[in-house]
Amino acid sequence: MARKVRLRFVVLAEPRISRTQMLDDMRAVYGTAGIAVEVVGESSMTAPLLEDLEAGKCSGKITTSEQDELFAERAGAGATELVIYFVRTTIPPYNGCAAHPPNAPGAVVAAIASQWTLGHEVGHVLGLGHVDDNTRLMTGNGTSEIVGVPALTPEEVELASRSPFFLEG
């Protein structure tokens, strides 16, 4: 499999559904679409003030000062690696949030996340938007509403392939 995304996990709080489960489920979706998911590192981070993270409206590239502070900690990630921060909660409560500062690509996953949240948020970072279809990973109706293993469509894979974080070879 030549196409891949590379992730680095930074753990402030463990999610209720294990990271292993989320990663396995993400790989099931992305693998079916011909995309490998590599985890190039995992580390823990002690930052009590950021465990319950102010996430604002979680839209576009607008971030809060707390998101800026958190995403500044890249744990040695390269420019094309996505850093996934596992926090306890976001304020207000989201399952996850893909808003990130420029030049610090990544996403936040909260403890209340579903099994598909990790893959969904990475999809946002790769440039994918919401769809109104609960058989697809990028459903805007909530990944907890997904039945079965959701899909990434060829059109979504094509769109994601234009992302600088979608690696070939």
């Binding site: 009590p48 319950d52 409206k57 839209s59 304020i91 207000p92 409560p93 399952n95 109706n141």
Partner: protein, 169 residues
Amino acid sequence: MEKSTVAKLLAAEEPDYDKLAGMGAEAIEPLRALARSDDPAAASKAAYVLSLIGGDDAIDGLSDAASSDVPEVRAAVAAGVRNLTTATAGHADAAGGRRKALAEAPADKVERLVAKLLADPDPGVRRVALKSLDADIAAAMKHEISELRDNDEDETLRKIAEDVLPRDA
């Protein structure tokens, strides 16, 4: 409004809280039920929406949720305190705005809720509650805040409390 309808609206990965707040008073009963549910994601989001809608019945729902066994739910209630403490008219601004709930609910009921959160066994819940206080409610909670400032086991929390209520104030 049906509980199932509200639950679907809350299921979104990144809910639009401004839109959810617009459900208004007719959503309070289903939100209260969802805030008591065994689903931490639904309960957290429901509690936060209750804080945005405000009013006496919503405060009762928040008080129930503040007794949840799930710290993420209690953290969502603590985050919602920011929506309760300033008597600003107009539509809720979910990502940090203020709302007129205090004006619509008995102040003593809000203060009991805040006191409960400031005494929560989870330091993160206490931190979020403390950070969510505005000047009016902080003035009413001097005893509780000074207790945190002087005696809390959590160092970061003592510092936040000191910022909110300096010793020489």
